[in-house]
Symmetry: C2
Amino acid sequence: MKKKLSLEETGSFARENLKDILALGFDERNLEVIVDTKDITQLYPIALKVAKHLTASTVKATFGFEDSDNVGLFFFTSIQSAPAFIESVRKGRHVFCLIPCAIDQDPHFRLTRDVAPKLGFPKPALIHSKFFPSLLGEGKMSSSAEGSCIFLNDDEEIAKQKIFDAVTGGGGTLKEHREKGGKPEVCSVFKYYEYFFEEGDEKLREIYELCKSGELICGDCKRMLAERVARFLREHKKRREKVNVEKFLTQG
Amino acid sequence: MKKKLSLEETGSFARENLKDILALGFDERNLEVIVDTKDITQLYPIALKVAKHLTASTVKATFGFEDSDNVGLFFFTSIQSAPAFIESVRKGRHVFCLIPCAIDQDPHFRLTRDVAPKLGFPKPALIHSKFFPSLLGEGKMSSSAEGSCIFLNDDEEIAKQKIFDAVTGGGGTLKEHREKGGKPEVCSVFKYYEYFFEEGDEKLREIYELCKSGELICGDCKRMLAERVARFLREHKKRREKVNVEKFLTQG
């Protein structure tokens, strides 16, 4: 056979992602992990009910699908919707659902909200998280754009190199930077402090001002971030080795 | 909640149908029952691979779907295809599959055959069964056309009445029938003998000739069939009470 299909293969990304989630500190007692392929027994009956209320026309208009796209794409929103209703199905009463996601997943759940009342379920609510900034400048990171982000399993040296290669808001030359100051508001390194690596608002403000005044130069700023990232990666790696994902990935 | 979704509800038709199948004498040792909703864990990963090779355009052309049809219909062939490949996936080698079905299910498996080589599976082969004849005359029975068929759980008296109300190939009057004979070739009662209730070719030929000559009249012919049907239903009911379907319907 040319290809061998197995659940294990399908589940490997899920497993690695879950390790990271647990290592980041999600409380296992309050956590249930739903994997489409493993928990499909619970999702599929709900997905079928959703599918009956979604026309091809609707998903085409929503996602820009064409007739040349595959039927898996057409159906996918039905599966994506199911977790929003699963607790209502289990409990046999209205259980409200809050979905944290980035805005690119929003269209699926807009459709979910449209279908919910037709099935007698409460509409799920959404909270949109920001996109992860790219180290290469404007826009969001992309796992396929090398250097645009640091992976949780990146080697410390690789992470450091990515930070040193990052696009900043610094002046064209050291002289220019000292004279005119940097632009932290467009700097990907500053965004990393802002989003992840400087929790204190006062200290963040300080970094901003020191850059703005030209006192803090990009090399030092990057070195400081690289140290924090390296420490985080080391600790994350340790926590990651201790987590037990298997209990979350056993059959529904 | 307006509707309560449960696997039990979904499974009740499957359960009743399976009771009939087992009561009809399928050898339990060689039988595996796949129920879409219960065995979806095995079917879904295969269905996803199939779906990637089926475009909306293809299923529209095959089944006449429109954009106003729901996405469940668009996706369904993917699920329908999965059992054709399941044994190859399990064994990790080519396992050939023969699908007995009526011709209305044929289009699904035509598409399955198109996709098979793309996934490295052998094409399934089909064997088309005849449609069940209608007691109301031409065409096939339909569970929604009352009187067109006898259900396996019909009361004997109801079955008898359906047979007596059946459209036959008999003459307009008894006199005409005696003189000109009947037309067994267009008679739904004769079809019941032919398909189900007279195994002997010689005896079937005899019924045919006796009708053709006008010697056998519809009333007697129907009475004879009704007795055979009643006996079958009685015995089927007994066998049905003895079968154990649960072991076939437990989680994949």
